[in-house]
């Protein structure tokens, strides 16, 4: 081959390698960027007086005096709105039937929007759901709700060829001529005084329990659930996996049975995860009755089956890679076979085994399908340690799906959804980094 051609081919290889790396990095940025940015929004945001009031009343955080003072300011700002509405309602009593009917519905809508934005009326009886007991706690949500208050959503079906077009009309127009008319510009002008937004660092998002279906509070239950499931899966999979790998690498002799065994293990690695979930339900819960119904125990067992092939494969490769000179030396000193494996082979194979474990941990933490049938619930408290054998638990992976699709107020809790995703990605990244560091340290110790 001519030198020119060789040089060109070399450069082409280098270029394609660089392009591949750039593509990978940009894919990573595109994937992780929004997750991190929006996920951080669950923790860093502009919080209103309602948020601080919630923190004080539910978690006893914050200075009561300061918050009381702010409450007063906000109340002063909101009072005219409440008063105007109440006065108009009283006025309406004395009006004729036709006017009352006209404004009854309009007022109902207005009340709903105002209460959603500002919070319940001062002297109304306490509402059942917590979400109705507070106004908006986040400034970005305030802006959205303000839009709801100021504008009515209407649909235009005039064009028969297209589906209805949405348009907004200022609510002020509906109440033209009434005292209510003035509250709209008033709200617009004083919105900041009503909410007193301040930059908030709500790191307790990761350790608080959630209130009212994740409307308020944090995601501790999910984090604890994922933690229990992952640790449980590892507790079952690692011992069995390593021992199976030792058998395959050291004791087994080549035979038809052994080849069949290897095929079985490889097949297990390729089974779809939802089949694992169904199997876990059918076998662990319905046949073995490890628990009455869903539980963390059943979920951990199912997850451990799923990661077992990976651990076996990685451990077997690591054990086979141990130079046989070490084994020879140990045996020549009079070590028995098992002794050699435990004292010489396993310590040298440890970095490879650790890699397999860390990869599996990341997978177990993020898998959803196996735990749908066996362990996950949508809403629940964080489990105490002894409850893992009998109780199901929320989990990060399952709740990401659940909160984004089956929740009753998907739009209200966007920040929680992003927070869950952020927590899961951060957890897996942390696990992988810990594994890399541990592996590097063991490798260094072995190299001398």
């Amino acid at each position: 081959m001519r030198l020119q051609t060789r040089k060109i081919i070399d450069k082409a290889f280098l270029a394609s390698a660089v392009v591949a790396v750039i593509l990978m990095i940009s894919a990573l940025i595109v994937l992780l960027g929004p997750i991190l940015i929006k996920g951080v929004g669950a923790v860093f945001f502009e919080g209103t007086i309602e948020h601080r009031r919630l923190m004080l009343e539910m978690f006893e955080r914050g200075s009561a005096i300061e918050i009381e003072r702010e409450k007063q300011i906000a109340y002063e700002a909101k009072k005219p709105v409440y008063d105007a509405i109440k006065n108009f309602e009283k006025q309406l009593e004395s009006m004729d039937y036709y006017t009352r009917m006209k404004y009854k519905k309009l007022l109902k809508d207005l009340n709903k929007a105002i209460c959603s934005l500002l919070g319940p009326f001062p002297d109304a009886e306490k509402r059942l759901l917590m979400r109705d007991q507070y106004g908006q706690t986040r400034w970005d949500r305030v802006k959205v709700k303000l839009h709801n208050v100021l504008f009515i959503e209407k649909w235009d079906y005039s064009d028969p060829t297209r589906s209805g077009i949405r348009y907004f009309e200022p609510r002020q127009k509906e109440f033209a001529g009434t005292p209510i008319e003035e509250i709209f510009p008033y709200i617009e002008k004083n919105i900041e005084r009503m909410f007193l937004p301040k930059k908030t660092f709500y790191w307790q998002f990761f350790i608080d329990k959630s209130f009212d279906s994740h409307f308020f509070g944090g995601i501790w239950a999910e984090i604890a659930g994922t933690f229990y499931l992952t640790v449980g899966a590892m507790l079952f999979a690692v011992p069995f996996g390593i021992i199976a790998a030792i058998y395959l690498a050291e004791y087994a002799r080549e035979s038809r049975f052994l080849s069949f065994l290897r095929v079985c293990i490889s097949t297990l690695a390729g089974v779809p995860s939802i089949i694992f979930g169904l199997f876990g339900l059918a076998f662990f819960i319905n046949t073995l009755h490890v628990s009455h119904s869903k539980s963390v125990l059943a979920g951990s067992l199912t997850l451990s089956l799923m990661v077992l092939p990976t651990i076996i494969r990685a451990s077997e490769e690591a054990i086979k890679a141990v130079p046989h000179t070490y084994k020879e030396a140990a045996l020549s000193l009079g070590a028995g076979r098992w002794n050699t494996i435990v004292t010489v082979v396993l310590p040298v194979a440890l970095p490879g085994i650790l890699t397999g474990i860390v990869i599996s941990m990341g997978r177990a933490a993020g898998e959803t399908a196996p735990i749908i049938f066996t362990a996950a619930v949508s809403v629940g408290k964080a489990l105490k340690f002894y409850e893992v054998f009998t109780h199901p638990t929320p989990a990060l992976s399952w709740n990401i799906y659940n909160l984004a699709t089956e929740h009753e107020a998907v739009d209200e809790i966007r920040h929680v959804q992003y927070g869950l995703v952020f927590a899961l990605v951060a957890l897996v990244l942390l696990l992988n980094m810990a594994g890399i560091i541990l592996r590097a340290r063991f490798s260094k110790k072995l190299k001398g």
Binding site: T325, Y326, S332, L333, G334, A335, V348, K445, L446, G448
Partner: protein, 287 residues
Amino acid sequence: MEALNTIDEVKNIAGELSSGDKKTDVEQKPVFNKEFYEAHVESKGFSVFYKTNEAVKRVTLQIPRGKVTAIIGPSGCGKSTLLRAINRMNDLVPGCYTRGELKISGQNIYAPNIDVVSLRRRVGMVFQKPNPFPKSIFENVAYGPKLHLKLSKEELERIVEKSLIDAALWDEVKDRINDNALGLSGGQQQRLCIARALAIDPEILLMDEPTSALDPKATLKIEDLIDELRGKYTIVIVTHNMQQAARVSDYTAFMYEGILVEFGVTKELFTCPKEKQTEDYITGRFG
């Protein structure tokens, strides 16, 4: 394993030891001249097979106690196989089996009820390429004793120190005894392996080309070490370096293609060998 020492009286060594060789009417002068020696390792018609290949062919050999015996011969002549048969390391090779007798201190080590672990305690081995464990120097030497005995920390430290002194390595490593053994030079690693083998206090030390992977200076140190160990241990050393065999050993065995051609006192074998094959090999006509 209680053993009785047998003392062999030397008869017609040349006729008895060289197997497969027919001496007819020529009067054979006994090699050892009425010298008594204890045979520590004794083989009678001993063969080692790898599947169907007979690597060691009916060797009858007596290795004297407390002396250094060298086994020389061209590559592939079966000397390593014979050496490894003495501590049954060939058991690790699949498809390897033996015929004949191999006795240590009168006990056939290939009998069916022999405990291989305790055999390997009495017969230590040093390999061609130094293979210390990827642990600390202390851990390396302490590995053997910890396997077999329950020892306190002080006893273990004493054993490690004694072994390293015996292996002429103590002065060089006493300040870094907890450092990783792989940080030592090649010669130091090999001496560490010797210390590791000595730590379990074997009777026999087998050395499979211990200096072939080392530089001349380290080689010299190891040869000095073998000199010091003579008398305390029975040493069998396989080497393809004839000059080393001449320097270091008391007795030499020459093997060719699995057959033991000649066995005798080193000085005599190298100055006036009995067999023509031996003479050809020593003078470099082949090998």
